[in-house]
């Protein structure tokens, strides 16, 4: 049994300061015993011979200087076993479902060591999500981290769930295991996820961590790390392909900011800590494929952009780390288009390695590039039309204007249970491109035009 100290000298926000301890390790797990017999947990943020600073996960409510503090001598670990699947745990990893405690096969440090870049395998297995704007234009691959950048009131949860239901690697029928971590979302939102998991049977192959809006904010700093530790364990020890959904990254960052403020740190941009990039990287970079291991960790997290502003530090720093982003548009949502994905600012950086002749289809890249260019041009023209009227447009420009409308209506729009395979998606792309003059298809090699363009295809058949 480790020694109990009753030497709290100060309590400030989520932090306590403890004096006159024996040497305490950096990042060590701490138990704090309250007079009422309950225990809270914390972690060492700064340690010296004079004073130890501890952040308390469950918040410092109810703490006073009489509390006993025990340093456990080890960093925070998650007990893991295959029985994690099907379980619902709190944001601190305690069972919430009335089930037994996890009998651990192992206890793993939740900070997670960095994958040696030399041990990584570049991700390249195409995941068909059945959503055209993703599969066709921003392809997701196994081992990628591709978040949804959304905003309040937008249907990001629906999209995330549609992906969790439909995602498949073609030619393999292995389903994904899902690790779902809620950080500061409402109970109602959490229920929405849970009931969908139950309805589709996904819960059996899911691990759920719930830190809800009324749970302590500091706990949010460990919730995603618990989730990622569980995911890595299932992927690398049990050969599973794991889809991790963290929601909402913004709540996580707010907790980080709160901690920084409590520690009176010099803030970086807009009050967020200067180390937020590094901290977020320690979450996002835990996606990937490791040479010689069968499983993989794919991240599809949700981030709501404060004020719909993509230059806000949270989406900005995320975008600098993740392998692209799927951007949800309020404008498309208002037009009644589901899923309201704005493809223009969206990006999948790993698309190029996941598509092409052997993976999807040889013309995929060309079709995607051409749709991008044409849609961008058509959207620009909308602005012009608002000023000069449609009649002032040339014939060519009118075609592009129409293309943009059709693209939103037929390519972007689809049903919430509509699962399009990649051929269907590319087929729609070609139908729309066929409405443009053929000479305008400058991004597409002639050989693909001959082979796939509806006008030529019809002739061949």
């Amino acid at each position: 049994m480790t020694k109990e100290y009753k030497t709290i000298s100060q309590i400030a926000g989520p932090l306590i300061f403890v004096e006159k301890t024996e040497p305490v390790g950096y990042n060590e797990l701490v138990n704090i015993n309250l007079p009422d017999g309950t225990t809270k947990r914390g972690q060492v943020l700064d340690t010296s011979n004079d004073i130890v600073v501890v952040q308390v996960f469950e918040g410092t409510g109810g703490l006073n200087r009489d509390c006993g503090v025990r340093f456990t001598g080890e960093t925070i670990k998650l007990p893991v076993s295959k029985d994690l699947l099907g379980r619902i745990l709190s944001g601190a990893g305690e069972p919430l479902d009335g089930g037994p405690r996890i009998v651990p096969e192992d206890r793993i440090e939740i900070t997670g060591a960095a994958i040696n870049p030399y041990a990584r395998l570049p991700p390249k297995d195409f995941i068909q999500t059945g959503i055209s704007t993703i599969d066709g234009m921003n392809t997701l691959v196994r081992g990628q981290k591709l978040p949804i950048f959304s905003g309040s009131g937008l249907p990001h949860n629906e999209i995330a769930l549609q992906i969790a239901r439909q995602a498949r690697v073609r030619g393999s029928n292995e389903p994904f295991a899902v690790v779902f971590a809620a950080m500061g979302i409402t109970n109602e939102e959490a229920q929405y996820f849970m009931s969908d998991f139950e309805r589709t049977g996904a819960l059996e192959r899911a691990v759920v961590f719930l830190n809800l809006a009324d749970d302590p904010a500091v706990e949010r700093l460990i919730t995603p790390r618990l989730a990622l530790t569980a995911a890595e364990y299932l992927a690398y020890e049990h050969d599973m392909h794991v889809l991790v959904i963290l929601t909402d990254i913004t709540n996580y960052c707010e907790a980080l900011r709160q901690m920084g403020a409590a520690r009176e740190e010099v803030p970086g941009r807009r009050g967020y800590p200067g180390y937020m990039y590094t901290d977020l990287a320690s979450l996002y970079e835990r996606a990937g494929v490791v040479k010689g291991r069968k499983g993989s960790v794919t991240q599809f997290s949700i981030l709501s952009m404060p004020g719909d502003d993509i230059t806000h530090p949270i989406p900005d720093l995320s975008g600098y780390i993740t392998e692209g982003q799927i951007v949800i548009s309020r404008e498309l949502h208002r037009k009644g288009i589901y899923p309201p994905v704005n493809v223009l600012p969206s990006l999948s950086r790993l698309m190029n390695s996941g598509i092409g002749a052997t993976r999807t289809r040889e013309d995929h890249k060309a079709v995607s590039d051409q749709c991008y260019a044409a849609y961008a041009e058509g959207k620009d023209l909308r602005g012009l039309v608002a000023i000069v009227g449609k009649d002032a447009l040339s014939e060519r420009d009118k075609k592009f204007l129409e293309f943009a409308d059709m693209f939103e209506d037929r390519f972007v729009r689809q049903g919430i249970d509509e699962n399009r395979d990649i051929e269907t998606t590319l087929g729609i792309g070609w139908e729309l491109l066929a409405e443009l003059p053929e000479a305008q298809l400058t991004r597409i090699d002639n050989k693909y035009i001959q082979k796939y363009h509806p006008a030529h295809k019809a002739k061949q058949e």
């Binding site: 040497p23 305490v24 390790g25 950096y26 700064d46 340690t47 010296s48 011979n49 900070t111 997670g112 060591a113 960095a114 994958i115 040696n116 870049p117 030399y118 041990a119 990584r120 395998l121 570049p122 991700p123 690398y236 740190e265 010099v266 970086g268 941009r269 200067g274 180390y275 990039y277 590094t278 990287a281 320690s282 970079e285 990937g288 040479k291 010689g292 291991r293 230059t311 530090p313 900005d316 720093l317 975008g319 780390i321 692209g324 223009l344 600012p345 990006l347 190029n352 991008y372 260019a373 961008a376 041009e377 012009l384 000069v388 002032a392 447009l393 040339s394 420009d397 400058t442 090699d445």
Partner: protein
Amino acid sequence: MKNKGEIYRISGPVVIITGLNTKMYDVVKVGNEGLMGEVIGIEGDKSTVQVYEETSGVRPGEPVENTGMSLSVELGPGLLESIYDGIQRPLPVLKEKMGDFIKRGVSANGLSREKEWDFVPMIKKGDKLNGGDIIGTVQETKNIEHRILVPPAISGTVSEIKKGKFKVDEVICTLADGKTLTMMQKWPVRKPRPVSKKLTPSTPLITGQRILDGMFPVAKGGTAAIPGPFGSGKTVTQQQLAKWSDTEIVVYIGCGERGNEMADVLYEFPEIKDPKTGRPLMERTVLIANTSNMPVAAREASVYTGITIAEYYRDMGYDVSLMADSTSRWAEAMREISSRLEEMPGEEGYPAYLAARLSEFYERAGKVKALSGKDGSITVIGAVSPPGGDFSEPITQNTLRIVKVFWALDAKLAQRRHFPSINWLNSYSLYTKALGPWYDEHVSPDWVKLRNDAMELLQKESELQEIVQLVGSDALPEDQQLTLEVARMIREYFLQQNAYHEVDTFCPMDKQFKLLKSIMSWGDKAHNALDGGAPIEDIMKLKSKDDLAKVKYEKEFDTALGVILKTMEDEFAKLRGK
């Protein structure tokens, strides 16, 4: 004070130690596991140390030892084809020693002590040697001859010189005063290696990227920055440069960026052939990968590790190019450490010495006469990642004050998949003039004018676009409509270049010239035809115009272009006849 002290305080990567006699930048071994760290501040009997490894679980009171050495890299044969972390630990060795994940407390030599190299001496007994002299060679990779250099501070008369197979730490040369030389030398990373003198860059770095070579070239020995928001093309451009630049050696630093991107390079570079030598690119490359989730202090060091290795090859007389992706992450590492030190923050929390560090780094670029008498160069290309894509932030601004070439990435262009998304109106190169004579001699006496004409057209386009935004393009006079069309051709047919297209990914100078010349001459002919009364609709519909769009993708470019030029002649002749 003594050589053994103890830990007083730990806060993340910053550790304060007491009771140890230290100098600034001494490397110390921290804690029971001997984690590597570097002294970055001294106050009273306390020293502040940045630790290059994770510090979880480390406690006050654990021992600290001073190695008395500054943070150094090992220089010698075996650097090429290596992939290192920020402090020159080979990642394959780390994987072997600690598995797929980076744990800590493991040291690893930068250069293998096992491997033997065939040393061929170039000097003989009795020769007088000075620092920087070449004493012999080793064939490091198929095309790169590694020249073994006398360390800068050493001189003397040769009393013995060997020949044959040696390991890097075996003596190959002894001097009269008893000093011995091996194939390996160490150099402190924060200190520039000395040169005889700096020269003025006068040759362009040929990159095979049209917008770079054609519009905004960087000279060998020059400096360039490529700032842009996320997803605008910093990394792809840097990787294109690493692949296709015509330097003999490439040092690529992944500083605080993605693990998968480094894995990509590792898988790709051994497969891709250097267009000049036909050998795998990896054979001329040194990779440094300290990704965003690896320790932040080692990220700070990675840039210095890279430039020191670059200087070493420069000193052998090679042209070296160095890409740092991204210098912003390096600066942020400085900021993180600085804020843990509770230093007085400057702009946006960056330390006050930020500007000085940036310019010291870029100052290590340049074309030089090395101590050996050979000419060598380092071209430095730094990516910058401005928060929110806002170029007014401190890293971008401080960098632009130093570098001579600015490739301004533009998110708008990236969104419509115009790649490379380098904005042709905002970018600049201060080398164009100095490089003029080289183009006259090696490309064509027409090149400089051709490029200027094209740039002027693009400038004109942007003025016309403003009018179009108000009245629509149909309201413009026909000759201006034609000007817009030719400008579009320059943008789409010439400036756009797909890094993932097997042919278009690399475009030699000669092809660049022919392509641009054909587009411009189509424009001239079209304007003549219009003046001669040909209807603009007919001109716009010419097949030769559409053909020019895709000719860059042709494997047999010259043949394909020949056919198009013929079509062009015929079509315009016919228009005149009408």
